[in-house]
Each structure stands twice: as C-alpha cells, then as structure tokens.
C-alpha cells in the first residue's frame, strides 16, 4: 500500500481508487532474475494475497520445453509460478491477453502491466488503466487499489493528433506495420481513422496487432480508433487537431525478405477463434508453402477443439508442422539455445523485441 501511495504521489495523484482486475508482468526468469524471485518469496512469506481478480503475463519457455534450459533456470521459473499462484493469481492465466479470460467493462478501473494489454483495454474496451510497472500491478492486486492519475482521469484521455491511414488493415502484418509506424510518429494519444476487416475475429486480431505494435514503438497507453473506441469525442475538438496521412509506401517499408522457414504466431497470444482463423488462412494462403514449421503461442488454459485439431492434421499432411506453446512467451526467453535459425513473424511486437531480448534474428513477412 505504501508503494502505491508513494508512486501515486510522485505522479500527482490525490488518492487511491479501487480496481476490479490487476494484471502482473515481469514473470520471466530471464527478466527478473534471482532478485525478482527473492522479492516474490518475501511477499509470500509475509502472507501477501491478492484481494481482486489478478492475472499474470506468460512466463519464459523454460517450463514448456525444459530440456533446452539449465536446470536452475527451469526450477526458478517454476518457483515464480508457484509463488504467484500462492498469492492467489489465476492459475489458468499466464497470458498477455488477460481480456480473453475476463473482459473488463466500459469505464472499469484496472491496474494492468503489459503494454499491449493496457493499450487494448483503454482503446477498444473503454476500460481505464495506466501502464503499471510489473511489481506495482501485483501490489495493486494485493491492495485492491491503485493511484488515481494518468489514464484514470478524463482529462488525460484526449487525442492530440489525427492520423488518416490510407491503407486498410486487411492482414495481421499490415495491421502490425501500421501500428509500428503510428507509434513512431505519435508523441501523445492520436485519433486514428483506418479501414478494418468486417469479420469480427479478423477485426479483433488486426486491432490487437495494430495496438501491440503502437505500444512497441511508443509508450502510448491509448489510441482513439474511429468507430472502435467507445468513448465519445467532441466533433469540434476533433476538427481542431493537426492531421497526418499514412500511405502504402510508408507501410511497405516494414516488409522484409523471408529469413526463415519457421513462422512464429501469437504475439500477443491467440485465443481459440484466432488460432482457427490463422490455421484456415494458412491452408488457403500461397505463402504458407514457404514455411515448414509454425510455432503458435496461446494462453496457459487452451483447449484445442476438434475442428482446430483437424486443421493441424491437414496442415501437417501438406508439410506444415504446427506446434502450440501454452502460457509462455518467446520474447522473454533466451532463444539462442532453442532455435537454430532466425524466426519469421507477422507480429510487429515480436519483430521488434525478439532480436533485442530473445537474442535471435527475426523478420516481418507479408504472410497472413
């Protein structure tokens, strides 16, 4: 509680407010190291427990494929999960899409870490959350409250620039490329007009990837998206904003040559509908011929339906091996001993962070 009060005071908050859902980041042993485990041990030894529904980000791949990692790393990573669940964090979470487990309502106050989830909650769901630090989100879950500043206040949820995207978001990689560009040109919250696929699953997938990519090249917690963001905006205010256009050339600059025969999907994680959607696209898409492996990252609780299983079997018959990884994240894993070749992806966030954090080359391809 003291941490929340002090952090809030530093950020100009006058009080703490109740939150309905906390989401914790900083779960990977490759990020938090032994120091992080020590702090979690201390909290558990003090009998700390979350008071509100709390979810956690994915852990590193050390739990899912332990044979590739040092025993100590695997043991510490397992301990992190034990400690978090001992504090009452939803055991079936361990995903970067907490809104798939519990969808926050309009105007709800949250304490979420994980930039891609924060920007989705503020921009698409109309919920309110700052980009909390990983441990601060955990403490907010324990206190059931957070400090009232930033995105919890109306006056900070206003756009300051208008962006017209002349390229419709018709695939994951285009949505990602638009997001990477928007993030790189926006200092404050922009109002974005762009065409989005009408299929509801496709639309969700493209929005998720657009926003995760914005949050990769900026620290923006929110984007106003025309016809998507539920908050009302004054027409006069909108008309007064400076305008910028984004054309096809700027987006195409992000496509790279295919660097790998392995395609990485699920950054952010895919839910069952989205997995079905990408598998179907892989079956019909010419470009899938260039790949022989697909790695798909999904939440810890993920039951494969019969039709999805059949899609996986059919793809295998055609020479495309599909592997699902539950509850983990490649970005927060040292992949240097795991993959022997670079990774191709359609996700802007993975493209940006995998070379930096996971230590292997990655390319953004126009595959899906």
């Amino acid at each position: 509680m003291k941490v929340l009060v002090e952090v809030g005071e530093a950020l100009g908050a006058e009080r703490l407010i109740p939150v309905s859902h906390a989401h914790v980041s900083g779960i990977s042993i490759f990020n938090i190291g032994v120091s992080g485990v020590e702090l979690l041990e201390k909290l558990v030894s003090m009998n700390a427990r979350v008071r509100v529904y709390t979810t956690a980000n994915p852990y590193s791949m050390a739990i899912e494929i332990p044979q590739f990692f040092d025993e100590k790393i695997v043991a510490l990573q397992r301990r992190v999960v034990e400690l978090l669940t001992a504090m009452g964090i939803d055991e079936s979470s361990f995903t970067c899409i907490p809104y798939a487990l519990r969808r926050p309502g309009y105007g709800e106050h949250l304490a979420w870490a994980e930039s891609s989830a924060v920007i989705y909650a503020n921009s698409v769901l109309g919920a309110r959350t700052n980009r909390e630090g990983g441990i601060v989100a955990l403490l907010a879950g324990i206190a059931g409250r957070t400090y009232e500043a930033g995105m919890h206040l109306d006056e900070n949820r206003r756009p300051s620039l208008r962006i017209l995207v002349e390229v419709p978001a018709t695939s994951i990689w285009i949505a990602s490329a638009i997001g990477l560009y928007v993030g790189s040109v926006s200092k404050d919250i922009p109002f974005v007009s762009m065409g989005i696929d009408r299929d509801p699953v496709a639309a969700r997938l493209y929005l998720k990837n657009f926003l995760a990519s914005v949050a990769t090249t900026s620290s923006l917690p929110m984007v106003f998206i025309e016809n998507v963001t539920p908050e009302r905006i004054d027409e006069k205010e909108l008309a007064s904003l400076e305008r910028v256009s984004i054309d096809r050339k700027e987006i195409e600059n992000y496509i790279e040559e295919r660097c790998s025969s392995t395609l990485l999907l699920g950054c952010p994680h895919l839910d069952l509908d989205e997995v079905r959607y990408v598998l179907r696209k892989l079956l019909t898409n010419e470009v899938s011929k260039f790949f022989n492996h697909v790695m798909i990252f999904v939440p810890r609780r993920f039951e494969v339906s019969d039709d999805v299983r059949n899609l996986i079997i059919e793809l295998k018959r055609r020479g495309l091996e599909v592997a699902l990884f539950r509850g983990c994240c490649p970005v927060v894993t040292d992949l240097r001993n795991v993959v022997v070749e670079p990774l191709a992806t359609v996700h802007g966030k993975a493209r940006h962070y995998i070379p930096k954090l996971a230590g292997v080359p990655c390319c953004l391809v126009n595959a899906l």
């Binding site: 530093a10 990020n31 938090i32 120091s35 870490a113 630090g133 601060v136």
Partner: protein
C-alpha cells in the same frame, strides 16, 4: 590550507526518510544493466554506490529496476539514499520495498553544482542539505 565548508539547504518535492552520505552523481541510470546487484558498483565507472547518496538526474529503462534495487538492499549493497531531479515509479517502488530513503524534485541547478566528494543529508519531509566538500 583549509577551505571553509559551504552548506546549502535546499527544498525538494519529497524526502521519504533521514539519510546522510557522500555523493555519487550519475546523469541517467537504469538499475537493470547499469548497476551490478552483487557488488553495488556502477558497471560503467566502477564506482560503488554502497553506503553513498546516489544522485541521479533521471531514470530510464525497464520496470525490472524495482527488483534490482530490492536485491541491492537485501545484499546490504544499497546506497544510503537515492536522490533525483525527476521521480520514477520503478525506483520509488524499489526504495520502499528495500527500505531505502529517497528524495525527488532536486532543483536542476543544485544537481549541476553537486560533485562526488560532497556530502548530502536528507531531512524529511522536503529538505536536502548539501555540504560542499570539493574544491
């Protein structure tokens, strides 16, 4: 020749607890990467922050910094206090969890004036006393 010690009392936005020590001054700092949590030394300059008053203009970098500050404290390698011009939630969280006093809102001109041999004293709720020891 003895130079007379100059003492300056400065008002800052917040001082969380009493502390005193020699200054180690850094412009921008990320606890993750820039500080070795085992030794309490700054990786670039090799200077120790253990038992010192760490004075930083502003912080950058990952939220994992909170854990590094906590680790420094649990290994008894922490600075006596962390003082900055700009406050940072990651650092504040680490200081409270590690029991390290902190201060922020140090005026820019005072930051400019400070040197590594000066002595700083933190007096809650918002006073910092600078003793100029350098010549």
């Amino acid at each position: 020749m003895l130079s007379s010690e100059r003492v300056v009392e400065v008002k800052v936005r917040r001082v969380s607890g009493y502390a005193r020590g020699e200054v180690v001054k850094v412009w921008r700092l990320s606890f993750l990467g820039d500080v070795d949590p085992e030794t309490g030394r700054l990786r670039e300059s090799g200077k120790s922050i253990d038992g010192k008053i760490l004075v930083v203009h502003s912080f950058r970098g990952s939220t994992v910094g909170t854990y590094v500050i906590y680790a420094l404290a649990s290994r008894k390698r922490a600075p006596n206090a962390i003082v900055s011009v700009n406050p940072d939630p990651v650092v504040i969280a680490g200081c409270i969890l590690g029991g390290i006093p902190f201060a922020y809102g140090l005026p820019e001109e005072i930051y400019e004036l400070l040197e590594d041999c000066d002595v700083l004293e933190l007096r809650p709720p918002n006073t910092v006393v600078v003793r100029k020891r350098c010549r």
